[in-house]
């Protein structure tokens, strides 16, 4: 491994890297108390609030025995005084051994990784990348299905703007998945991603009917259809209920099928689904801690 390796985009990891992260996550799940980073300081820089991601990372850092410095939003920091990202990262990289950062601007994490002396882990850069989410999604698939190869995955909701579905699609392309894309016409999977699948010889099916291929799915990956994404509000009103998952829709699904969601959920999964054993979205968040432990241990080269 290179001396300083960052994780900015899921493209930074090869299939072998991804598989190693899966092994490490399983190892940390079996034994979460491993103080492999004792004596290290990790900076947790949240230029925009994201309580769930921040706490998940900070829990992972603490479980690894490292200490955390940082901020959870930019008020009262030099950023609010107009300091450039370049200067902020240059200074903070002198205080720590790794930076975990969330930033509203796309590409901010890549730039930070170029400026920083220490590895940078991207905890979300605007609508661009959120690789630890993708890896925890993969770990959740592996745990529930026992494999990553040849998964039949149905992605539902906002497939146009949803960064989680784009990154997951790219990561699963290593493993010959079969994709079903379910969305309103306004929010279809962008051509660019469909062309990537086509070039890799991976099949996909597009529909606006959530029930059409549900029986075939190993994984249903739900995302939220947001009102503000629609140029025509009438169209939103027409389609909004078509992408809500109710418990009675799951009767004919495969026994191994699990429902994932990057959370937060609003109303796209009805609460009557929560008690169904096929609902996996809350377990998914626990997997996030082990996956983030795995990412940091791997980048530090201690595992």
């Amino acid at each position: 491994m290179k001396e300083k390796q960052s994780l900015v985009s899921i493209h930074d990891f090869t299939k072998e890297d991804i598989l190693r992260i899966m092994e490490l996550a399983a190892d940390f799940e079996a034994n979460p108390d491993q103080r492999l980073l004792y004596g290290k300081v990790v900076a947790s820089l949240f230029f925009e609030p994201s309580t769930r991601t921040r706490l998940s990372f900070e829990s992972a850092i603490n479980r690894l025995g490292a200490r955390v410095i940082g901020f959870s939003e930019v008020n009262n920091t030099s950023v609010s005084k107009g300091e450039t990202l370049h200067d902020t990262i240059t200074v903070i990289s002198n205080y720590c051994d790794m930076i975990v950062m969330r930033h509203p601007i796309e590409g901010a994490a890549r730039y930070a990784s170029e400026v920083s002396k220490v590895p940078v882990v991207n905890a979300g850069d605007g609508a661009n990348q959120h690789p630890s989410q993708t890896l925890l999604d993969l770990y959740s698939i592996l745990k529930t299905q026992g494999r990553l190869d040849n998964i039949n995955i149905m992605m539902v909701g906002d497939l146009k703007y949803g960064r989680t579905v784009h990154s997951l699609l790219e990561a699963l392309s290593h493993f010959k998945a079969e994709f079903t894309f379910v969305s309103p016409p306004e929010l279809q999977m962008p051509t660019e991603y469909k062309m990537q699948l086509y070039e890799r010889g991976i099949s996909y099916y597009e529909t606006s009917d959530i029930m059409e291929r549900m029986e075939m799915a190993d994984i249903i990956y739900m995302t939220r259809v947001q009102r503000e994404r629609f140029s025509d509000i009438m169209e939103y009103e027409r389609v909004k209920n078509a992408y809500i998952l109710h418990n009675n829709m799951l009767a004919k699904t495969k026994p191994n099928m699990k429902i994932l969601h990057p959370l937060p959920r609003v109303n796209e999964i009805a609460t009557d689904v929560d008690s169904n054993p096929k609902a996996y979205y809350f377990h998914q968040t626990e997997n996030g801690v082990y996956t983030r432990m795995a990412i940091m241990a791997y980048l530090f080269g201690v595992k």
């Binding site: 370049h86 601007i105 796309e106 901010a108």
Partner: protein
């Protein structure tokens, strides 16, 4: 008869010849000023003459630029292909075409194209050089930003100098 047809009949060049330098021909008229900006011709000391909306058998109408006593670097030439893929470049010595240079599309460009994504860090932070991988998609060139990973299409290319 148009002035252009008349000139053609009289054997008069629309854009006067240069003794030594570079001629960039077959530029799409809409790309003329992008090429001028890309080559910094708006601030050059060299004598520059150009014409636009000239007849072209190859592309319908074209623009042409003649730059006296300047020979472009390979990098500059490859960048021309991004904004004017049909362009042809000739080196002139003593009023004759001494060499025709092939314009090859680069696989990577740095620092002269603006990222088309307004949310990209390169449009927010000072002093970052933009960086793109160049690839072909559906017969058209496209640039993928190394930072935000979004695509700037050939049509969207805005030259920054």
């Amino acid at each position: 008869m148009s002035q252009q047809q008349d000139n053609h009949k009289k054997g008069i060049l629309e854009v006067s010849a240069i003794e030594n330098g570079t001629v960039i021909d077959h530029i799409p008229p809409t790309s003329l000023f992008k090429v001028i900006k890309l080559l910094n011709l708006d601030s050059t000391k060299h004598q520059v003459t150009f014409g636009t909306n000239l007849k072209s058998k190859r592309i319908g109408t074209k623009a042409i630029i003649k730059i006296a006593d300047k020979y472009c670097a390979d990098e500059e030439i490859s960048y021309i292909s991004l904004v004017a893929p049909t362009a042809r470049l000739s080196i002139i010595r003593d009023y004759e075409v001494a060499e025709k240079r092939q314009i090859e599309v680069p696989t990577y460009v740095e620092g002269f194209v603006k990222c088309g994504n307004p949310m990209c860090v390169t449009n927010h932070e000072p002093h970052i050089k933009t960086r793109f991988d160049v690839f072909t998609r559906g017969g058209e060139l496209a640039l993928r930003c190394k930072y935000c990973e979004k695509i700037t299409t050939q049509e969207q290319i805005e030259v920054i100098r």
